[in-house]
Amino acid sequence: MAEKINLKIDNIAVNIDEGSTILEAARKINIRIPTLCHHEDLCVAGNCRVCMVEQVDSDRLLPSCAMPVSEGMEILTNSLKVRSARKQVVELLVSEHRADCTRCYKNGKCELQELSSEYIVGENGFIDLVPLKNYSIDNFSPSIIKDDSKCIRCQRCVRTCNQLQNIGALSVAYKGEHMKVSSFYEKPMYEVVCTNCGQCINRCPTGALTEKTYFDEVWSALNSEKKHVVVQTAPAVRIALGEALGMPAGEIVTGKLVSALRRLGFNSVLDTDFTADLTIIEEGNELLQRLKKALVDGDTSVKLPMTTSCSPGWVKFIEHAFPEYLENVSTAKSPQQMFGALAKTFYAKKIGVEPENMVSISVMPCTAKKYEADRPEMRSSGYKDVDYVLTTRELALMIKQAGIDFASLPDDEYDSIMGESSGAAVIFGATGGVMEAALRTAYEVVTGREVPFENLNITPVRGMEDVKEATIKIENVLPEWSFLEGAELKTCVAHGLSNAKKVMEAVKAGTAEYHFIEIMACPGGCLGGGGQPIPTSPAIRKKRSEAIYREDALKPIRKSHENPEVVHIYEEFLKEPLGKKSHELLHTHYTERNRY
């Protein structure tokens, strides 16, 4: 056990583990020290100097986020010296920040703005350095806008991209006053290895990194008489949207979400969860087919392990970093794109709307989905399958703009068809969820029995561990699956791209033997996605995860293949999994991309 250290902060005694920082000690006794470069998910940087505190009987001010506590230390967090230093630090940061707050997307949600209002940065601070700054605004990506003029160089994004995600699209270039956060050769974000995961956006304290917004386009579609606007909502939106609308983390707001979308004027309010169930049928069958080809037919061209393909951040990552493994990625489209393709074909016909008059919108916890919807492959319906992708944050803003009091909305139900879903679809939003959903279905297809876990809860693949492994023994199979008798299905689940990289490197080195790997680009899975409400932290993600599993447990149907609408769409339209229609609409291919 760690040694305990005794110290005093603002004359209040604190007892805390050795190795803790002054900041942690202060938080323990509910003293708030302002921070900017500090983030719970990232390593210490200590470069913004906002968290300076005074040590009694010492001349120096200490950065509390980086300084470990020591025995007998006496710290002042609100002395005259501290306050004046803090104010100056904020003034200096503001002097190099384009403080065009009223026109900024982050207005009201900017940490620098909050600090400036707290410390009343005067008119007569330092001169405005922005006109002297060599800055560029990169708004070429369909997902991310990078505006250097608002960057305060705290490097949260660089640490996110390099440590948390291990992508390395962003780095620090040049030195001194010329230092800037840059991509390779200062190329636009859409040209480099950026996976559009948006984790940097979730952690940027200012408006330097934001998602590209599409709510204006959506408003004009909603106000157009001729257009029939269809909306789909991703699993992880319903457990996080409330946070952006004044509710605590971990509230399930599915019913209110549907009400709000109807009030905004969407003509059909449908659910991505429906196509999540469909994904399980297609992807599960693809896995079984790959296993059959490899084990029975001895087909050596079949690639195993198979990986999931729902996370567009992961897909773009593997296209850049491990292009030799592209054939291992399931060809099944993500639920968003399956939905888009079906909306403008099957659904349009069903409701008698011409596909050219249909506008297909999705609400996603994700910024990479914006890029995914823009891919040239994603036009299976003959039109752009998903026209506009909104993040959870953008939807929250639209609800506010419409003057809707979200908390007091009554619960409502999704439209049908393409609105019904199982618990297996809901858990797509959490790391391990796709694996669990796939196993619930695949095991039953092969053996005719439910997965041997209490209440269908496959706990080994749940939780926030970096990489989870689970082996499922398959016994007493149905006759047509006799080749799988006694087989051990080895699965692996990773979330966050740094963990994905570890898994893929192990696969490459031949040290890991898996059949099926689930990878989600974001920490915690989609619930921690780059389009989710800000802030994010391990504690917030845990609450969202609990809400997702709660929602799963509440569902009367827990398995994808038992979703009656899924059964119906195969009977009426798709005919069979991996069939001709499925290949046309529900499957895709991948492209090798550059190394930088």
């Binding site: 992508i167 390395g168 699209a169 780095s171 620090v172 840059s182 050769y185 930088y596």
Partner: protein, 159 residues
């Protein structure tokens, strides 16, 4: 294998493939190529299994690692205070009119690039400048003309 690929691979074989080998490899590229091209950076990233943005970040941090093509002879005039007091501004003016370029530019024939640099440690003999690796001190406009003439003649002879 392309030339640049071979060069980077050779340097990585020589210095190693750990992250701390990045700097010697980049210096090696500058020694043989004058500047580090985009392709070279991507190759370095691939060899060391690090991100290309990180290579770019390191390359742009150091004044003597160039990311843009430079002339055959890179003239760096010391810009720090002692050389300034000794008249480095006249030296730069003289060089600009001799070479017909502004500070930071390269001559049309690709022979000379004119830049400023931080202290060369020749404060007692300022103004000072470097041409590639060779220092020149106690400069006067006349001396600068002679030096440039010498390099031009050297180039003429080599043609």
């Amino acid at each position: 294998m392309t030339e640049v690929k071979q060069l980077v691979k050779g340097l990585a074989d020589q210095y190693g493939r750990n992250e701390e080998c990045l700097l010697p490899i980049l210096q090696g590229i500058v020694t043989s190529e004058q500047h580090i091209s985009e392709d070279a950076m991507v190759e370095v990233a691939r060899e060391l299994n690090i991100s290309a943005a990180q290579v770019y970040g390191t390359a742009t941090f150091y004044s003597f690692l160039h990311t843009k093509p430079l002339g055959k002879y890179v003239i760096r005039v010391c810009k720090t205070i002692t050389c300034m007091m000794h008249g480095k501004n006249q030296i730069i003016k003289e060089l600009e009119s001799l070479l017909k370029v502004n500070l930071g530019e390269t001559t049309h024939d690709g022979k000379f690039t004119l830049m400023e640099t931080n202290c060369l440690g020749q404060c007692h003999k300022g103004p000072a400048m470097l041409i590639n690796d060779k220092p020149y001190t106690d400069l006067t406009p006349e001396k600068v003309r002679e030096i440039v003439m010498m390099y031009r003649n050297k180039e003429l002879r080599s043609n």
